[in-house]
Symmetry: C2
Subunit: 376 residues, 2 copies
DNA sequence: CGCGGCGACGCAACCGATTGTTTACTCTCA
DNA sequence: TGAGAGTAAACAATCGGTTGCGTCGCCGCG
């Protein structure tokens, strides 16, 4: 955290230059060679032989399944420990018709604003999977190209899959259903046929909007959000809930929703229009978009929140250095990933998992909106 | 790209609510059951039996290795095609002592500014791996915790590994060396023992700095960059190269380097100091940092580039909406990932891969620096 | 003393492929 | 006609585990 001012004098070497040696090719077994004590890749058979027992016994000692004497089991475990043997998971998989891998589908063409989400989600998934002895295999899906997912599934490389984004028309989901591969969706799905885990975007958006109305605002705009994403619909529902509870258009509430905005140029145009129409608050669907909006307002010398309020979703560190500080909705995305992974394991274990799991959120009210710093 | 203004009337359903059914548990083989034409999970044995040949023949027909008659091979292939059989890669792996997986090590605690880099790098890796019939297994490493990597390696889940960031003291690299796992580093390494692929950050930074000097600047500051990252050192080398070629301090060149800056608060302090010291240009190590710098300058009403110039690395879309447009250095990160993956395959195939591969860059000069829009 | 029962463990088949060795067959040429 | 060469395909072992079933020894009990 501390800064380290240094002068340009050559404190660092450089990384360019010569050809180098490379790492040895993975040494495979050759038990008869004596030198170099190459005792890697011990097998269950080796252990059995060394201990004068059968492979079965070793297998049972390790798995804990099946009857086995305490003493024998102790001997096996001690040997295993001493030689730090670890079983060949591929072979175990073959015998048990499992892979001990889960697949994760990531959009390869995701907007920059979604990156922190996926990063944290992956972190939750990887940690949970790892703790359960599973590894994580990744498939990047771009547009309609789900070939990486298809390969992973066709190759039987995964026991189940986690989808990290849901679309209203979701190609990966359709594929997984067709192939009868167990999966969990992070994000809601249009139907309720799938096991899904999501933050409660509907309530989150409603709570934020309620707060704005409570401050006396009457004209609120929503900007951004891809209409193909299910999450966009959830938020709109929450927004609408709030509007309706205020009496809607009849009560003088004005709303303006502009979806599918992502590039800076369009943002500028939309913001200009919103300003012209005397919008009182712009709710942005993500923090990067929000950054664009703030830039535009700043370039136009329009004061936030005095002349217009601005709020956002995700509360990522991107906006951290902004003045004024930005009102945003925070989600625990790592928890989301963890939960999704747990649900998948439930399914894999044959325990029926709950269909929908809704996780919470936190509305962080700061200066840019809902703080009462403007007359509204 | 077009915006779609819609009114808040309920056009979307919502994703919250009821419990749902779940996807079927992965149907395992039960060949005797007649209904439901469950003919999945065909094995090589099934095909052999159906065609009245041996498993060997089927295997040879598919792999193309070993002698086999044209007609027989045709029959097998036709059957395979018709029933769209695909071999069990796990079993193939067992027999061949391979996994057809590569591991990718990702930092789990990466700064938000690095996310686009990792995203694109992954994309390049996944695409290349997929095209070669490999799947990608991910291990997230946080701090010194490399347990996920250790599991993947101990479980023999990967044939080789790609490191997506290199540190001067790199725990994953040390581990892979110790275990003699083939690996390729994205990013340079301190020694030249490893196969590595990197953009030419040294030349890139030098070219940018040269340009600034050519415009008559005499006091340039570098801000950001984690000193544990090897890439930071490479850039500093390039910076130093440029300074030295101008005659250095004796020729009146002034430099200021502040590493390890990442939080907004510190950026503010540093920027204030730099402004006070009449710095002529601030070169930021990444675009998010650059955003912070620009925010700070904007808050202080200091004009860019008239009063101070600003340049950055990575040229990501984050700064797209900025005024003035930002001078930045662009790298083809997907290409970087692709190249790293290709190198790894070379190693796995026993072909000796080149030790170091340096990829290019593009200095995108825009308004914020080096454009001649200031007296310098 | 004989027998049932039980706990501990081994045998061997199996998971789904690969692959070195053998066998069967055809063709050629002496 | 038969040996030798050459090709096509089958046999069986193997990769490193799991697991249903069988065996063995020991104990208690009638």
């Amino acid at each position: 955290m501390e800064n380290t001012p240094v002068f340009a004098a050559g404190i660092f070497g450089d990384g360019s230059g010569l050809q180098g040696m490379r790492c040895g090719s993975a040494g495979r077994r050759f038990k008869t060679e004596n030198q170099c004590m190459e005792e890697k890749n011990l097998t269950i058979g080796d252990i059995a032989q060394a201990l004068g027992v059968s492979k079965t016994t070793v297998s049972r000692a390790m798995s804990g399944k099946g009857r086995i004497g305490e003493e024998t089991r102790g001997r096996v475990l001690a040997y295993v420990e001493a030689h730090n043997y670890s079983p060949n998971v591929v072979a175990q998989g073959l015998a048990q018709n499992k892979t001990f891998n889960i697949g994760v589908v990531m959009p390869g063409d995701s907007n920059i604003s979604e990156l922190p989400f996926f990063q944290n989600c992956m972190l939750g998934i990887c940690r949970t999977a790892s703790a359960a002895g599973y590894d994580v295999l990744i498939s990047m899906v771009t547009g309609e190209d789900i070939s990486q997912l298809e390969r992973a599934v066709a190759n039987r490389k995964v026991d189940g899959v986690i989808l990290t984004r849901t679309l209203t028309e979701d190609a990966p989901m359709r594929y997984l259903r067709e192939k009868e591969v167990p999966f969990v969706a992070v994000g809601s799905t249009e139907d309720n046929e799938a096991v899904q885990v999501d933050n409660d975007h509907r309530s989150a958006c409603r709570e934020l909007t309620d707060r704005l109305f409570a401050q006396g605002l009457r004209k609120i705009a929503l900007i951004g959000g891809d209409e193909r994403f299910v999450v966009t619909g959830s938020r709109l529902s929450g927004f609408r809930d709030a509007v309706v509870s205020q009496g809607g258009a009849e009560a003088g509430i004005r709303t303006d929703i502009t979806l599918n905005v992502s590039d800076a140029r369009t943002v500028e145009q939309v913001v200009e229009r919103l300003v012209r129409e005397e919008t009182e608050c712009i709710v942005c669907m993500d923090d990067f978009l929000c950054g664009c909006v703030l830039n535009t307002l700043q370039n136009r010398q329009i004061a936030v929140p005095e002349q217009i309020q601005v709020a956002s979703f995700y509360d990522s560190t991107v906006l951290e250095s902004r003045l004024p500080s930005v009102t945003s909705i925070r989600f625990d995305v790592e928890e989301l990933g963890r939960k999704a992974c747990e649900q998948l394991f439930h399914i894999l274990n044959g325990e029926e998992a709950g269909g929908c799991t809704l996780l919470g959120y936190e509305v962080c009210v700061r200066e840019s909106a809902g703080s009462g710093k403007t007359a509204g």
